[in-house]
């Protein structure tokens, strides 16, 4: 065990946890005031649900003994995580317990990301059921494909086979461009199809009610993302350093690119544009952060951000209500980040692979495309099925009246802000 590595991973884990409340603020500020609490709760509830499910069988399904062909880990190997407590239970140079909690945070935020597509209209009970089923049937298997590397003995022989994308295919996804962002982005599209549009979509303005909350959320996400990406080195080493450098280079370029598109197209550089560009850059560099140099990182960030700035308008033309642009940001930037590794990868980076632009041929590019679309295809179909079953049996949407009145009051019996005159708080205890 290495104490330096362990200390960094303990901190990284806490930083990645903070991303989910950050996401709740990022999303919460973008909805109208009558739905902010429900929007934030959809993220917060993930911290509760996925923690429990991950301990019970999620870690085991993701990192347990492969059941065959690199498709799924054994759900029963580490039930309750009681078998990894000994001081000799190590993952690389850190205690297995630390690695298990670090990876738990990824599961929590991935499913929380999806909630942005169904703002203002989902039954809370249906969302809870969806979270549990989706992480079990979609996230755990896909994370096994992408994140579970083969365990090898001293001679390089595989003694503990892992997932097919990480090992058999050999696609690069350092921190989750496929498993987290393409996965959540395409799931969001499927969920938006099943739930349908909000009342008034495309007709009434759905203005963000609090852009300061959005900015604060984006800041927390950026901070936490250093743990997300650099922590994925699972060590406090040079790789973690390069990853951090690439993460900030891509994100800075991405923010500028979004603002430039806005300034040219709409005449103003907006705060929501800055926050959105930050997220686009962070998403895009997530899979690529170990495979490119800082110039490549800036190129990927800027290209992805400019593409997202246009992609967020597609929902109006194509007629799906991806309320807070999970598709336009996470799917689009996730695809660009994952696939462009095939162009911008350089052997001077820790991953040590040359992409097409660095004389490495198209081999890596093809692997990246296969990995991206395998995750995309599986996640879309599985998510659509899960959501459809929930919708047909218990119903996924609140009533139209509740939606117009506001989901906070209808679902949680609360209202978010008590600002203004003295009259607003009049009333008594309902005994």
């Amino acid at each position: 065990m290495d104490t330096g590595d362990t200390a960094w991973m303990l901190i990284s884990t806490a930083m990645v946890l903070l991303m989910t409340p950050g996401l709740a603020m990022f999303y919460g500020g973008m909805v109208r005031a009558k739905g902010v609490l429900n929007m934030m709760m959809m993220s917060f509830i993930s911290m509760g649900l996925v923690s429990v499910v991950w301990v019970l069988y999620g870690y085991s399904m993701t990192f347990g003994k492969d059941l065959g062909s690199g498709l799924l880990g054994s759900p029963t190997e580490s039930i309750g995580l009681t078998d990894i407590l000994g001081s000799d239970s190590l993952f690389g140079t850190i205690p297995t317990s630390v690695f298990a909690v670090f990876q738990m945070m990824f599961a929590i935020i991935t499913v929380a990301l999806i909630s942005g597509a169904i703002a203002d209209r989902a039954r809370f009970g249906a969302w809870i059921l969806f979270v549990v089923i989706w992480v079990s049937l979609v996230y755990f298997p896909v994370a096994h494909w992408v994140f579970d590397f083969d365990g090898k003995d001293g001679d390089g022989n595989v003694i503990d086979p892992g997932g097919w994308i990480a090992n058999d295919l050999g696609a690069i996804d350092f921190a989750g461009g496929t498993a987290v962002h393409i996965n959540a982005g395409i799931a969001a599209l499927a969920l938006a199809f099943v739930l349908g549009k909000r009342v008034g979509f495309g007709r009434e303005p759905f203005k963000p009610h609090n852009l300061t909350l959005v900015m604060l959320g984006a800041a927390l996400l950026w901070f936490g993302w250093f743990g997300f990406n650099s922590g994925s080195a699972v060590a406090a080493n040079a790789t973690a350093g390069v990853v951090m450098l690439n993460t900030v280079a891509a994100t800075g370029a991405a923010m500028l690119a979004w603002l430039l598109v806005e300034r040219i197209r709409n005449g103003h550089a907006t705060s929501l544009g800055a926050a959105s560009g930050i997220i686009a850059g962070l998403v895009a560099i997530t899979p690529a952060c170990s495979a490119v140099d800082p110039l490549g990182a800036m190129a990927i960030g800027a290209i992805a951000s400019a593409a997202c700035a246009y992609a967020v308008s597609l929902k109006y033309r194509l007629g799906y209500d991806d309320s807070l642009d999970v598709v336009g940001l996470h799917l689009v930037a996730g695809l660009i980040g994952s696939i462009f590794i095939g162009f911008f990868a350089t052997s001077s980076a820790p991953a040590g692979v040359d992409g097409l632009l660095y004389g490495g041929g198209s081999e890596q590019l093809i692997k990246q495309v296969i990995a991206s679309f395998a995750v995309l295809g599986y996640s879309f179909i599985a998510t659509w099925l899960i959501a459809t079953v929930i919708d047909r049996t218990m119903g996924f949407r609140i009533t139209q009246e509740a939606e117009i009145t506001g989901i906070d009051l209808a679902v949680h019996a609360e209202s978010s802000y008590e600002i203004g005159s003295q009259g607003a708080t009049r009333g008594g205890y309902a005994s």
């Binding site: 303005p205 203005k207 709409n266 907006t270 544009g273 700035a309 246009y310 967020v312 308008s313």
Partner: protein, 112 residues
């Protein structure tokens, strides 16, 4: 007695308040309002989508005056609130039947 109501641009609030104080009004009531006149609303852009906002923020000022002060106060408001561009607002005067000062019970012009 008359009630003078003025709808003005929020940016001219301080100018109008100063002009009214210099004129010597006894008091005023100010509230935030929203609405539109000939300038209609404005547009806002969120992630590239333009929304038209019909109701724009305004300030409503209400002043109770004696008959002799009506022309002077209206002139003070309309001069200090003007920018020359569309959306400067309006001032109107309505008759008031009865006024009571709550603390003393005075009525009529002496209650203003």
């Amino acid at each position: 007695m008359k009630l003078i109501t003025a709808i003005i641009k929020p940016a001219k609030m301080e100018d109008v308040k100063t002009a009214l104080t210099e004129y010597g009004v006894a008091g005023m009531t100010v509230s935030e309002a929203s609405g539109f006149g000939r300038q209609r609303g404005h547009t806002e852009v969120y992630r590239g989508t333009e929304y038209t906002v019909d109701l724009v923020p305004k300030i409503r000022i209400e002043v109770l005056v004696d008959e002799k002060d009506v022309d002077g106060v209206v002139a003070a408001i309309s001069k200090s609130a003007a920018t020359g561009s569309v959306g400067d607002g309006k001032v109107w005067v309505t008759p008031v039947d009865h006024v009571v000062r709550v603390r003393t019970g005075e009525t009529g012009a002496s209650a203003i």
